[in-house]
């Protein structure tokens, strides 16, 4: 019970914060941010508490599903809370990052007129994300899903006077709609078949459903793979997987703290979370896992390449996020859901850290975002320098850093299973990741100080910017190691995810312990790829500036091709809009105006209006007419029911 109450507090505290901010008249920045921070802080403390409880005893789950929302005969919709290891770890991630991002925003958004609005949105976002995390049924999941979509839309377009921001939030919204339709169809299919939306009911009836099939015309499909695929469409859109990934780079139009919170650490992982949550379903939908694996590998490698050719610091990190989400998807596709969640956890910390570092750099460079124009900031902003280094090493998976434990685990998985093609692609992914990560590092912090930024007495920015950087740097280093043996391979997810048996096998046969895993890693291709990537980027971006230019000239056509995301940009920005424009123009002029409007809608409306104005004349205002009507009514009823 206390689990339920703490979960409820975690869930509602950000909402209360948002509501208070809405009705709070005094728009002073400090007071607003104090309210927002306190509400998130309460959530965080309780999440931390739950997380510690679960670390000691991960088998306690709490499932409350009795709050009936809407009930009518055979339809019952309930709301509930599901508190288990998966939701606890997710809520820990979300509230942790949300808290530091809130602190960071105080400094970053200092002079913005709508700071209050910003805080309302972020608090509301945290609430919506927690709705997804703690939901124990598909309805609540869907509601949370739409709410995070909404808050993401609002926050991308936060500077709504900027045309690019409006374009970006429109794009994000539309792409997510595509995924939402898939998700909704999946949920509807589930509801039709088991007439309940409860997770547990669904899992219990999976054995029965595995024999069910649906037929579409003469074709007949197994039900479960279809549901799994439809739900994954939603996950793919939210987690920016090929081919629904192209909204994420554009979403960088929003304020940088938002990029860190929503578009790197939390919201984009909702898709991964959902698949992990529904692991019993995905275990039973064979070929869908192959599709997921394929998409994941494609995304992980190709988007890393795109990151390589970008120059905007935020866009590089954004593509890197997509690529890392690809690694998580790969792990899902291999049905090692826990590894995906583990990578999600470490990734959330170091990627949020990298984004906040980027924000700090951008702030220092007076909102210049191109890394080509930056340089020599090592002296100017030491805190950012070191924390960025931590984040970068974690991202590339340098041994002992957090990212290493999660990412190398996923990659070694394929070596363990003997899938060498995937293994090779993923290892080249490491190589690419290292190059672009250190490209930023060398270009921004070394070389000549092109923007002539002076070192000030006050080391960098105010404390509110430094603290989050340090606060996120610590878990970026240690959390992977800390949770590797004690949580991931200690049956932490046993009660919530179905892959514990596989985990045990891989631990006993391959990993053995975190230390041996680390020591062993120095002798693998992973490390080789990492080191060679490091050396190459050192040569390219630090030592010799001539090579990239030559390479660029020679490979210009390829680079342009990669920059256009292999044609996806064309598809999303030109091709589909044109088709839809033509289609909707046709529907508008021919169908809507000519047929629906003039004939059906206006036609019927006009008839009824004429009928109405003639019928109103019944009401004459003469009392004897009224009385007469009553008598006639009486008489008709009497005659009608008189049994002669």
């Amino acid at each position: 019970m206390s689990l339920g109450i703490s979960a409820l507090i975690i869930l509602l505290s950000p909402l209360v914060g948002a509501l208070v901010l809405i009705f709070y008249k005094d728009k002073s920045e400090i007071k607003s941010s104090v309210i927002a921070n306190i509400s998130i802080f309460i959530s965080f403390i309780f999440s931390l508490m739950l997380f510690i409880i679960f670390l000691f005893n991960s088998s306690t789950t709490y499932n409350y599903s009795n709050l009936v929302w809407f009930e009518s005969n055979n339809l019952i919709f309930t709301f509930g809370l599901l508190v288990d290891s998966l939701s606890v770890i997710m809520s820990f991630i979300v509230t942790f990052i949300s808290m530091f991002v809130h602190i960071y925003s105080i400094g970053y958004m200092k002079n913005d007129k709508s700071f209050n609005r910003f805080l309302i949105y972020t608090n509301f976002f945290t609430f919506s994300m927690l709705v997804i995390i703690f939901s124990n049924n598909f309805l609540q999941l869907f509601i949370g899903w739409e709410l995070v979509g909404l808050s993401s839309y609002l926050l991308i377009g936060f500077w709504y006077k900027k045309p690019t921001a409006i374009y970006a939030n429109m794009k994000a919204f539309l792409v997510n709609r595509v995924g939402d339709i898939g998700l909704l169809l999946g949920v509807i299919l589930i509801f039709i078949n088991i007439s309940s939306l409860d997770y547990m009911r669904f899992f219990d009836s999976l054995p029965d459903l595995s024999n069910t099939s649906i037929s579409l015309g003469s074709l007949s499909f197994d039900l479960l793979p279809i549901i799994a695929l439809l739900l994954f469409t939603g996950a793919a859109a939210k987690s920016a997987q090929i081919p629904l990934h192209f909204w994420l780079p554009d979403s960088m139009e929003g304020p940088t703290p938002i990029s860190a919170l929503i578009h790197a650490a939390t919201m984009v992982t909702a898709g991964i979370f959902m698949v992990a949550r529904l692991s019993p379903l995905y275990d039973l939908s064979a070929y869908v896992l192959d599709i997921i694996l394929f998409i994941g590998v494609l995304t992980a490698f190709l988007m890393g390449l795109v990151a390589l050719v970008q120059t905007d610091i935020k866009r590089i990190i954004a593509y890197s996020t997509i690529s890392q989400l690809g690694y998580m998807t790969v792990s899902l596709g291999a049905s090692y859901y826990s590894f995906a969640i583990f990578h999600l956890l470490t990734h959330a910390f170091f990627k949020a850290l990298l984004f906040l570092c980027a924000g700090s750099i951008i702030l220092k460079c007076h909102h210049e975002q191109s890394i080509e124009k930056m340089g020599g900031l090592r002296e100017v902003m030491p805190y950012t320098y070191y924390t960025y280094l931590v984040g970068a090493l974690s991202l590339v998976g340098f041994p002992m850093f957090s990212g290493f434990f999660s990412k190398d685990l996923i990659i070694d998985l394929f070596k363990f299973h003997g899938d060498y093609l995937t293994y090779t692609i993923l290892i080249s992914g490491i190589f690419v990741t290292t190059i672009y990560t250190f490209k930023i590092f060398f270009k921004v912090f070394f070389g000549p100080n092109k923007l002539k930024i002076k070192k000030t007495d006050q080391i960098e920015h105010s404390d509110v910017i430094i603290i989050p950087l340090l606060g996120l740097a610590v878990p970026s280093i240690v959390i992977g190691f800390a949770l590797f043996d004690s949580a991931l391979f200690n049956d932490f997810f046993k009660s919530s995810i179905t892959d514990s048996g596989r985990l045990e096998t891989i631990y006993n046969d391959f990993v053995r312990s975190s230390l041996s895993f680390t020591l062993h890693s120095f002798l693998t291709f992973n490390f080789l790829a990492l080191v060679s990537g490091l050396i190459l980027s050192y040569i390219l971006y630090y030592k010799n500036y001539q090579i990239p230019k030559n390479v660029t000239q020679k490979l210009e056509s390829i680079i342009i091709y990669v920059k256009r995301e292999y044609g996806f940009t064309h598809l999303s920005d030109v091709f589909f809009p044109r088709i839809f424009n033509n289609l909707s123009n046709m529907l508008w002029k021919k169908t809507d105006v000519a047929f629906l409007d003039n004939f059906i809608v206006n036609g019927i409306a006009n008839r009824i209006r004429i009928f109405s104005s003639s019928l109103r004349l019944i009401q004459t205002g003469y009392i004897y007419h009224y009385a007469f009507t009553m008598i006639i009514g009486l008489l008709i009823l009497l005659l009608f029911f008189y049994n002669f």
Binding site: Y624, F628, I631, I632, L635, L638, L639, Y642, F644
Partner: protein
């Protein structure tokens, strides 16, 4: 028994006649007088049914008090009866049709269903004695006390409603207030204008 039937029919016919005259008469005073008659005849009918108390009350209250007031009002207002009768011919036929069909329906109904149904009226009217008045009083203050009280509340509401709707301080009426007249001061009676006010 036989004589009761003849009395009943005699007074029923008279009742119907006077009731029709209330509606059809051209003169409002005549209508009112016919209404008095119809009350009187129905009182006789009640008497036949052994409801002597009610019939006396009917005459006392309605004939004695209500109708007198009614007559007063009619005489004071001088209602133009011909204006009220406009459209009489126009609606007469349809009214008649409705009236006839209602009447036929009801006659059919009573003919068929109440021929021998008097035995179904189960209630023993004579509760404590043969005296109708005494019985009525007894029932009223025991079994129907609640109804009696509610009726009293309705009357109270009637009084309040009547007062609310009629009694209202009119702003047009001029009246003297002696205390104010005495309290008045010199300054309030005379206002001395200075030159500047005149400009």
């Amino acid at each position: 028994m036989n004589i009761e039937i003849y009395v009943f029919y005699f007074f029923s016919v008279l009742l119907l006649f006077s009731a029709a005259n209330v509606v059809l008469s051209n003169n409002a005073v005549k209508s009112a007088i016919h209404l008095v008659f119809s009350f009187f005849f129905s009182a006789v009918l009640w008497l036949i049914l052994n409801a002597e108390f009610l019939s006396v009350i009917l005459i006392l209250v309605y004939v004695g008090a209500v109708m007198v007031l009614f007559l007063f009002v009619v005489m004071m207002l001088d209602v133009n009866i011909t204006a009220l009768k406009e459209g009489f011919v126009k609606y007469f036929s349809s009214g008649l049709a409705v009236f006839l069909s209602m009447a036929i329906l009801l006659i059919f109904f009573f003919q068929r269903d109440f021929d021998e149904s008097d035995k179904n009226i189960l209630v023993e009217i004579n509760v404590i004695s043969d005296d109708n008045t005494e019985n009525l009083g007894y029932v009223l203050y025991t079994e129907y006390l609640l109804a009696f009280e509610i009726a009293a509340v309705i009357l109270l509401l009637g009084i309040i409603s009547a007062i609310t709707l009629t009694h209202r301080k009119s702003s047009v009426t001029k009246y003297q207030n002696p205390s104010e007249q005495i309290d008045v001061k010199k300054e309030e009676r005379i206002k001395i204008l200075s030159d500047e006010d005149l400009k």
